[in-house]
Amino acid sequence: MISKRMLLILIIIFLVSSVYLLGFGFLELIAASVFSFLRMFGAYLIALVFSVSFGVLMGHNAKAFKYLLPVMDILQSVPILGFLPVALIFLLSIPIVGAELATIFLIFTCMAWSILFNVIEGVKTIPYTVREVAKLNRIDGMRYLTNIVFPAIYPPLISGSIAGWGGGWYFLVVGEFTTFGGTVHHVFGIGSFIAEQAYAGDIVLSLIGIFALSLMVLLINSFVWSVLMRHSEKFKQRSRADIEFEEGIPDIVEDASEMISEKLENVTGIFDPVLKFAHIEPESKPDKPSYLFTVLLMGGLIAALAYLFLQSGINIFELLSYSGSSIGRILIAYFIALLWTVLAGLIIERNRWLYSRLLPVFDTLQSIPAVAVFPIIVVLLIETASVFIGNSLALEIASILLLLTGMQWYLLFNIMRAIRHIPSRIGELGDLLNLSYLARLRHMVIPLMLPAIIAGSIEAIGGGWNATIVSESIIYKDITFSPETGGLGYLLSKGTALGDWTLILSSLLMMVLIIILTDKFLWAWAIKKMEKYTAEG
């Protein structure tokens, strides 16, 4: 975690440089940041209510789990930006608040899934003996929720929220500024500030915007999320000694909250029938997701795809070759990311001093939402590199680099976490057995890192698909650039820009299909293979 002193220095640099560059425009930047934050916060609240209610329902109700899980699974695999056209077309038509609602909805779609799936996992991990205690003492209805379910899901809820909130930042820039059907859709905020400056060609102002955004990310991470994270981790293994978090809360607040919770206890009973109806009780447990229903859903998707082809007259070979070029680009970016992060991981593993120095640096870099950096990369490559290597190659490289920014951190952070958790006795075992460095790598370090690499790869490839939509259709100085080989992301943004539904849906469905197939076959296989490495020894 970045130190408080470092944060203070960054804030001062930011204040000085932005006042110097912007003058009174500085206040506009602050206001834009506040607006963006409120938007994020609003979306988060909605995501929280959505995820907790559906998560708790799906964690208990066998039917809900059976049928909703396949639906949520498919929705989750839709690249975040894939919701863009849907949101824009339906929500933008609402007068006045439409644009705002569309943006909040899009940020919500980035946040909801990781929280939802973590909540379901949290409900599932309530030990069965605890459920039996609840049954024997007839703790049901709201009492069951407040005393057992909510505390049990608190830690996974926080870690899911951190991931979701990060996803929200990533999307903010696109959410606040997009072109749709030939018109620019934008709302006032830090994301649109960055995009507008960059697309107008003012890189310095755009950088100041990125600086402000990253600072906000860092501040919220270190003052909200890391505090909640620590509290929630300890929550499961509480002791009197480490409830210092609660000691920070003034007595009046604590007394008031105790009084409220006591009053609520009497009032919330009115929800008990609802909970009983929904089978949210200690004895109910989810079954498996319905295999038949999943197959039907998938079949429906494929049928819809086929129908859209016939309607749109899109050439199937074109769609396949576009899929191929997107996959190719993602794979190239993935291998670059894999190479450098594993190498970095191996070096850091040998050198703990470097590890402690680099962690805050990576943490800071990671907090810069990748999409915000896109314009800068674009300018560098299109303005300068294309002179030497030609336009089409420069665009390919730009596209891959953009993907890379949306993928590499997932790998890096999973690997770093794994390294931190390598038990020291493994190193001692290596010394005792007198193993060479290569033997150690082969038998100890790599196997220990593998589960993290797989987990990181899953997130990275998912992030890659999210990034295709922006990386294959780069707007710069009001002109849209795309790699000549095309891609599904290119097709989707083209469809969005033209307002062409068949184009939007067919490219989106194709993407969803590829993602689901990767999940169900490649990743499911890899996770199964990995199980032996994650076992405690």
Binding site: V130, N147, K236, Q237
Partner: protein, 247 residues
């Protein structure tokens, strides 16, 4: 007076479409102020038996009756102590015991919980969290939570199984002491254990189950003073008798 009656009870599980009979033709009754121990080879269905008395599982055949009422789900007359303690780590000792008393208003609930925490010898630890307690103390919280509801029937599923021998010895003695107190519930104790000395030490009657599918192959009255002298000849001959029935 018959408190608990099991009549021709049987339980069959269905595992991967194959029927596995676990318990067969279990019939016995328990009178007020009786303590029963159920012993048998491991995996024979002892735990299934008391889970059905608790109402956590339904018998395939036959009935479980408490005071003449058929049991189909957990009732307030029964509570259970688990081997794994099953405390909520995010709640203090007091709050954990309160979990059994949520029907009562807050003030009364706290009073009640404190009384039972005192009774198991944990006064002064009301505000501690489970993590700060030794295993023996954790199980005391489990005992307090189970008896705070003042159940007529207290079920115990290997309650001393994860405790060290000395702690287990002390806790056994104390539960016997609590049971001897005629003014308080529980009126009936049913203990499941694989430890035959423990069964003879705690119970007035030991039910011996056979291998799966389990039937009752012995119903032995223990005629010893409570707590019995574990080195006495009578005690050891009971232990030998039961051991020879199982092996």
């Amino acid at each position: 007076m018959v408190e608990l009656l099991l009549k021709k009870m049987a339980k069959t599980y269905v595992l991967e479409k194959r029927e596995v009979p676990v318990l067969e033709d279990i019939t016995f009754s328990v009178k007020k102020r009786e303590s029963i121990a159920v012993v048998g080879p491991s995996g024979c269905g002892k735990t299934t038996l008391i889970r059905m008395i608790a109402g956590l599982e339904k018998p395939t055949k036959g009935v479980v009756m408490i005071k003449g009422k058929k049991i189909t789900k957990p009732t307030k007359e029964v509570n259970m102590i688990f081997q794994s303690f099953s405390l909520l780590p995010w709640k203090t000792v007091l709050e954990n015991v309160e979990m059994a008393l949520l029907d009562k208003p807050k003030k009364e609930r706290v009073e009640f919980a404190k009384k039972y925490i005192d009774l198991v010898g944990l006064d002064g630890f009301e505000e501690s969290y489970p993590r700060e307690l030794s295993d023996g103390m954790k199980q005391r919280v489990g005992v307090a939570r189970a008896i705070a509801k003042e159940p007529e029937i207290l079920l115990m599923d290997e309650p001393f199984g994860s405790l060290d021998p000395l702690t287990a010895y002390n806790l056994r003695k104390e539960i016997l002491r609590l049971f001897e107190n005629r003014k308080l519930n529980p009126n009936v104790i049913i203990l499941v254990t694989h430890n035959i000395e423990e069964a003879v030490y705690m119970a007035d009657r030991v039910l011996v189950l056979s291998r799966r599918p389990a039937r009752i192959i012995g119903d032995i009255k223990i005629k010893l003073d409570k707590p019995p002298d574990i080195r006495s000849k009578e005690f050891l001959s009971y232990v030998d008798e039961i051991t020879s029935m199982i092996s």
